[in-house]
């Protein structure tokens, strides 16, 4: 595929530039260890996040605190023990200055102890498990993406007030799914809602007709669904095929109806509400610029993962700029990162100094047909959401 070859060239170019600078006695290159899935089911997320980072690094001409930036990439694969092995390689063999990446929560938990004990700074750019901000947080671990609680909790109250008090829940049966449903129910029940039916389907299901048949029986006012990747695409298409699309409103978290899923299912996604910390059509100047730049550079619309990559690169560069490129002291780096605050594509970006989790706005969006193109339009801004920690 074009990207792989071009990215490969691009990658070696960055290395070349980095080395060249190094050779001419300039400051030594800032080496960032990137652990993302480049093979297997989550390969697309890995690629989006990497493209987001490369886009921002281009904007700052690959400079951070006067030092050229160099990304050292490793494949996280689907096996958490491989992720841990790659993190160890990056720290001990490639001597990286700091780490970023990790799409799957299981991999994040797997590397958490090693990163904490070896006092290496890790900036998680996707994995959303709540524990990394709560009982298993670490001063050296920051997160620029989200926690499952952050994305789902606000939606509960909004749905109870605006859509219906009778909801049926369909969710993929894995930790991320269960945490999101728990957060959703927390606010939905508090706002007087009632969950009439809960169905958990195995991850990687290829057929949801059974769950949809049960939905038809329960006759809820609306459905809260939590699915990702191919599960989301299959579910949405069968939701439409069963005629549910027009009869029962669907609300999900943003991941279920992200741009790549809309591209895959088209009409079937229309009308679906979703809550997320970003939307392609979010009317913010920074966001428009980001979306145009990404489309020009990569020829496709950015996804929330690309936006997270973009912001992650910015967090790193701004922190290193604050230290003028001197990363000798880990504690100073942590302080610098805590101090990072900027207006990005998603709006105001700042860290909660207690949990090192991003504090961000959560928006309610709906898939609408605007100018015969289906995309997530923002219908409500649920304000600043901070994970309780």
């Amino acid at each position: 595929m074009r990207y792989t070859r071009r990215r490969f060239l691009k990658q070696s170019l960055a290395v070349g530039v980095g080395l060249a600078m190094g050779v001419r006695g300039q400051r030594e290159a800032l080496r960032i260890g990137v652990v993302l899935p480049y093979s297997g089911v989550y390969a697309q997320l890995g690629q989006d996040i990497t493209d987001g980072m490369l886009l921002y690094l281009d904007e700052v001409k690959n400079q951070a605190g006067g030092r050229p930036v160099q990304l050292v990439r490793e494949d996280e694969t689907a096996d958490p023990s491989v992720a841990l092995r790659k993190v160890t390689k990056l720290v001990e063999q490639d001597r990286v200055d700091l780490l970023t990446g990790l799409v799957s929560t299981a991999s994040a938990y797997a590397v958490r102890d090693y990163v904490h004990n070896s006092r290496n700074v890790l900036i998680v750019s996707n994995a959303g498990g709540n524990a990394l901000t709560r009982e298993r947080k670490s001063p050296y671990i920051f997160r620029t993406s989200f926690t499952s609680w952050q994305v789902s909790f606000p939606l509960g109250r909004w749905m109870a007030e605006r859509l219906t008090k009778r909801v049926a829940v369909v969710a993929a049966d894995y930790a991320f799914g269960r945490e999101s449903v728990a957060a959703f129910k927390e606010s939905f029940l508090a706002a007087g809602g009632q969950v009439v039916q809960e169905t958990y389907t195995p991850l990687g299901s290829t057929d949801f007709s059974a769950a949809l048949t049960r939905l038809l029986q329960a006759r809820p006012g609306a459905v809260f669904a939590f699915l990702a990747g191919s599960d989301a695409a299959i579910f949405l298409r069968q939701y439409a095929q069963f005629g549910l699309k027009d009869s029962i409103r669907l609300a999900t978290t943003g991941f279920t109806v992200e741009e790549d899923v809309i591209r895959a299912v088209g009409q079937a996604a229309e009308g679906a509400y979703s809550s997320l910390h970003w939307a392609v059509r979010l009317a913010l100047p920074e966001n428009q610029r980001f979306v145009q730049a990404f489309r020009k550079r990569f020829g496709r619309t950015p996804s929330v993962y690309a936006m997270q990559g973009y912001d992650t690169a910015r967090v790193i560069v701004e922190a290193v700029n604050a230290l003028q490129g001197d990363l000798s002291s880990k504690d100073k780096l942590v302080e610098a990162l805590e101090g990072v605050r900027f207006r990005g594509p998603r709006g105001l970006f700042e860290f909660d100094t207690k949990t090192h989790q991003v504090i961000q706005n959560i928006y309610v969006r709906q898939v609408q047909n605007i100018g015969n193109e289906l995309a997530n339009a923002v219908v409500a801004d649920l304000g600043r959401v901070r994970d309780p920690g």
Binding site: T206, S209, I234, R237, Q238, Q241, G266
Partner: protein, 286 residues
């Protein structure tokens, strides 16, 4: 009452896809004693080719017709490779070789089509719920059941009434004697392999509107295909049919009553069959 009708129809639609995948797998083992672990790869390849054809031609039916032929072209190449491991008592080498081939196909597919989740919309005429008496049920799965039945009958007729079918059953039944009666068993194996590839690709295209095309689909379908042929009995079309129906219905029941453990239900079913009938339901009858 219509709830159980749904469960049945969901199961049959799923069985149709499983049958298309398993028929080829079972026949190739029957004729050549070769376990083709790359078969799931051709199912996925068929789906991706259907996607590209649909993008290019904009017509689902054209994609449905052309994808199996395209997959056949790839099948011609891989058949030449798999020929290395044909022959008796080479089970270990066959597992290694076809497992490697499955990896190659899986990565090449990702190289050409990328890792995004891709989908093919069902043809407009089928993209709406159908009224089945008092009840509403999506049209596409019914179409799948129809195609599954047509292909099952077609294969049954092919096996029963054509020269090719006769030679396949003879080569599967008694290879040495078949050759003494002039049946070119290696030729037959080649044609069976290509038939299997085309069927799997057809299954892939049909599945695209129902499932999503994403990396990993090949190995998911391979496991299901192996379960179907092992439960139904390796080596014959009828074995694949019984297995597909049983697994399809068990899966649908599992998903309805034990949603989290649907896959476990299927594995439990296979384990039970294998403990009491060590050679699958139809036994050793190849």
């Amino acid at each position: 009452m219509e709830f159980y009708l749904f469960v049945l129809l969901n199961g049959l639609a799923y069985a149709a896809l499983l049958f298309l995948l398993a028929a080829g797998l079972s026949l190739v083992y029957g004729v050549g004693r070769v376990l083709h672990l790359a078969h799931g790869g051709f199912f996925m390849l068929g789906g991706y080719m259907g996607y590209s054809l649909y993008q290019w031609a904009g017509n689902f039916w054209l994609a449905l017709a052309l994808a199996p032929l395209l997959a056949l072209a790839v099948g011609l190449i891989t058949e030449r490779l798999v020929r290395i491991v044909y022959g008796p008592d080479r089970a270990l080498e066959q597992v290694l070789f076809t497992f490697g081939l499955a990896f190659v196909i899986s990565d090449l597919t990702r190289f050409f089509w990328g890792a995004q989740v891709l989908g093919v919309p069902p043809p407009p005429v089928l993209n709406r719920p159908m009224g089945l008496g008092p009840v509403v049920y999506p049209a596409y799965p019914l179409f799948l059941i129809l195609v599954g039945t047509v292909v099952a009958l077609g294969l049954w007729a092919l096996m029963r009434f054509t020269r090719f079918g006769l030679e396949v059953r003879a080569a599967a039944g008694h290879p040495k004697m078949a050759e003494a009666l002039g049946v070119p068993t290696t030729q037959v194996l080649r044609r069976t392999y290509l038939l299997g590839v085309a069927l799997a690709a057809l299954g892939g295209v049909l599945a695209a509107p129902r499932l999503a095309l994403a990396p990993g689909l090949d190995f998911t379908m391979l496991i299901l295909g192996l379960i179907v042929v092992v439960i139904g009995g390796l080596g014959s079309v009828t074995g694949a049919l019984y297995g597909a129906l049983l697994v399809g219905l068990a899966d649908s029941l599992g998903r309805t009553f034990l949603p989290q453990f649907a896959l476990a239900v299927i594995f439990l079913l296979m384990a039970l069959v294998l403990v009491f009938r060590p050679e699958g339901l139809l036994g050793g009858r190849r």
